[in-house]
Every structure is written in C-alpha cells, then in structure tokens.
Symmetry: none
DNA sequence: GTCCTCTTCC
DNA sequence: GGAAGAGGAC
C-alpha cells in the first residue's frame, strides 16, 4: 500500500518534464525513504538519478518497497492535467498494476483522479559509486542553461575546465570557436547570482553538448546547478530540489584519444 | 590591428538581425572613420548601407582600413550569445582570417569570446549618388512598420504618396484596396509620436511591399524612420542609430509603364 | 511540418 | 506589459 500526498504538486511535473526526453520508460521505486528513479537514457549514454525524500511529503505511507514501471510520456500527460497549485496524492496497491494520481485544487472545489497503467520494465540498477570529485562548480541554473544553449549553436562538444578562478566553457565548429568564462563570485548581493567553485585540483573535460542541453531542462527545478567533475570520470550535473531531494545526471567525458567522430561513450 | 569596444553591444545584434535576411554574406569595412557595410540584397534588388561612426565606440582603434567578409547568419549566431546588457569588444589582426568578439557582463563576472571565421567576398562597391530628395517623411518607426505589415496582407505593392498634408500608403489585392494616411504632426507631446514631412514637390512612387517589410526589421534600432523620395529614383529608407550612425535601405520604384507583373527592378 | 500558445526574459 | 523563444497541437 502506497499513499503519498504532496502539496507542491507542480514539482512532480517539472521532474518528469526534465527527464522524459531522455528516458521513455522507467521504474519509479518507492520505499519508506521516498521516491527514486534511476535510469540510463534511451541511447544508453547518460544516467539519470532522482530522489524525493519521504519527509518532503505532507503524508507518506509505503508499507513495503515497490517498483512502478511507467511510460514517462504518459506520466507527463497525466501530470499536465494538474493545475499548477494543485495538491497531488499518489495511491497504489501492493499488487496492483495501476497507480492513481489525485489532484485537488487549493480551494478544494475541483478534484480529479487519473489512473495510470503500470508496465514491466527491466531495470538495470546501476550502482553509482560515491566519488570524491576534484572540482565542484555551483552556479545559477539559468546562466548555465543559457551557456549550454549558446554554445550548442556553435559546436557539438564543450570542454568544461574548472580552475580556482572560474569555470570555462569552450566549443568550436564551422562558425568558429567560443569561450565563456564564469568567475567565482561568492559575494553577489542576491544569493541566486552566486557562483562557487570548490577545487581540489584543476580539471578539464569534454562533453557532448546535446546531453548537457537536455539535462538543462531541469532548470525550473532549482536556482542553482552543481557540476562535479573528476578526470576521466562522468560529470555529475545536479539540480537540488528545494528541501525535497535532487535530480542528478551523469555523463561520461569524451576521451581525447578516441575522438575520431566515433561519438558517445557510455558512462 | 582593429580594436573596438562598444558599451551598448546589443546595437550590433539589432543591426545584424535587421540585415541578415536580405544579405547572407557581406563585407564589413573598417577604417578610422568606423564600421560600414554596403551590399545588394541576395536577389540584387535593394541596397543596404550601414555606418557606425568610430566616435560611437568607447574605444576605437583601426590602424589601417580592412574589409572583413562574414556570413551574417554566423555573425548573428555569435551575437545572440551576448547578454542584452553586455559590453562588446571586437578584435582583429590586419592579416588574420578571423575576428574575435568579446562579451563582458556588466557585473564583470562572465566573459565570453567568440572567434568568427572570415571569408573572401567579392564586393561590388556601388557608389550611392547624393540625391536632393523631393520629399522627406520622418515618422515613428513602429507606426511605419505596422503599416507595411498590415498592407502586405492585402497587396504586394504599395504606392507611397507624399503631399504637404501627409503621407498616404495605398495598396490593393484580391481582398480589396487599402489606404493609410498619416498626417504631418510636429506638435505631438512626445517627440516619438511626431511625423514631419519636408516637401519640395509632391511625389508618389510604387514599391514592392516585401522589401519594405524586410527593411522594417530595423525598427528596434530607432524611434523614427525617414523615407526620402524623388520621382523615378530609389527611395531611401533610413533608420538613424542613436548617436552612432545609420542603417539605410534603397529600393527602386516600380515604373508604372512597365508593370506587367514584370516585378522588381534594381535601383 | 507549420501554426499557435505558453512561458520567459527584457 | 510586450516580444521573442520554446513547447505543444493539429
């Protein structure tokens, strides 16, 4: 038996919107600790890991762990039917093959419920090793999204290099080359404008821009994004969901030796 | 050696956006007097002449005249990467085959640079004769753009006739006919709303609306547009760029005798 | 693929 | 509050 009530229901919609272009079907796992989703994207290049803590919910009850396989496109359709201020309640039976979403308008004058069919999905539960990252950059999510979008109009890949002074994004293509440097800034008036760089050692990694721009769909979820990098290991792009959990993306860097347009290594 | 720093960097973007649909590639000429661009549109019907004075720049240095051939589509891509408040600096070496654009955010916490490849373009440097125009109409740029857009949904050509009382725009098509008359108004409270007609003798000329609507992409550059006309000569459509220079378009009138759908004479 | 709406940024 | 870009619908 699962029952979870979330006042800030629009959160769910943003999470699903951020992920549905990368993964078409996924298992959403529920346990007493909350909701989580872990999946490779459809082209098996990047990895998505989402967690919403049980305590983020107004009411949360999950008698025993369950895994609910869903079409994320369908899930997105259902969540789109919720008003932006609606309170969302999820319900599922332990052995059912459906999950029910209930939407209540804040004024309580409208209640809708949607029953979504579940499906069996082979889950490849990849353990994500806890890494000690060499460089962690926290910057305004919107600014980061803008940079990814701008650079993707110039080139296909980006080199992200973190030094103590700042983080530099570099790309090149037919048009020419482009560099964007964002300086560390821990003293901005508004906390939203701050950029913080936590560096053990400088690192420079190359990534496919199309995945980074896709990850950036999560921008509405958070004011800041955190890029955590270590040489030759996947970058972790994290959007912290205010007091609730996180949405993390992992993408392996392109290794310079094998860049014969052979494209896209899995993490 | 070229180095030019422009605080109001968004200006450049507006100029390029206004022109890029008419000319795909163009030479941008730089000399100690500033930047200029002169080109026929792709279909060789209209002529574009832009000038930005050296004194419009915060810092301007151009050791010897140079001509930089660019894809305006690529230039537009690069300029789109500038924030709307960014300070723009251009740099080029005398014999280089690239030009570098540097964008600095006002708070100086983000710096980007874009290197754009230059190309060889045959320039047909047409002298534009200084004409004594019979009629000069200065009117709000937005109002003029609206008229062009509205009329182009009715017909393909417009007759612009200037008399001492006002300027009349006439078109007709399958739908019917349309006339828009704008009266001289030199006493409007706001200077932006004024329309001034300077007339030596009345004149009425016929133009292809598709070019006029295309020219009107320059509207964001200026509060007013000036139409200068003389019988049987090209109209000059001028957007004065505040304290900086101008963007002028020239379009030959359709001559009534030969209007057997023979379309589009060059100026 | 195009149009229209919605959101976001100015 | 308006315009431009992104996303959704037909």
């Amino acid at each position: 038996m699962l029952e979870a009530r979330l006042v800030q229901g629009s959160m769910l919609r943003k999470v699903v919107d951020a992920v549905k272009d990368l993964v078409s079907d996924a298992n959403i796992d529920v346990s007493s600790s909350g909701f989580s989703l872990q999946a490779m994207d459809t082209s098996h290049v990047s990895l998505i890991a989402m967690h919403l803590r049980a305590d983020a919910f107004e009411h949360f009850r999950c008698d025993r762990p369950m895994s609910m396989g869903m079409s994320l496109a369908n899930l997105a359709k259902v969540l789109k039917c919720a008003g932006s201020d609606d309170i969302v309640t999820l319900k599922a039976n332990d052995d059912g093959d459906t999950v029910t979403f209930m939407f209540e308008s804040p004024k309580e004058d409208r209640v809708s419920d949607f029953e979504l069919k579940l499906m069996d999905i082979d889950s490849e539960h990849l353990g994500i090793p806890d890494t000690d990252y060499c460089a962690t950059v926290t910057m305004p999510a919107g600014e980061y999204a803008r940079i990814c979008k701008d650079l993707s109009s110039i080139g296909d890949t980006v080199v992200i290099s973190a030094t103590k002074d700042g983080v530099k994004f570099t790309t090149s293509g037919d048009v020419g080359t482009a560099n964007v440097t964002v300086r560390q800034n821990t003293t901005a008036d508004k906390k939203e404008d701050q950029t913080i760089i936590d560096l053990k050692e400088p690192v420079a990694l190359t990534f496919a821009l199309r995945y980074l721009t896709s990850f950036a769909k999560a921008t509405p979820l958070a004011t800041h994004v955190t890029l955590s990098m270590t040489r030759e290991l996947p970058v972790m792009v994290e959007y912290a969901i205010q007091d609730m959990g996180h949405l993390r993306f992992y993408l392996a860097p392109k290794i310079e030796d094998e860049d014969m347009e052979g494209e896209d290594e899995a993490p």
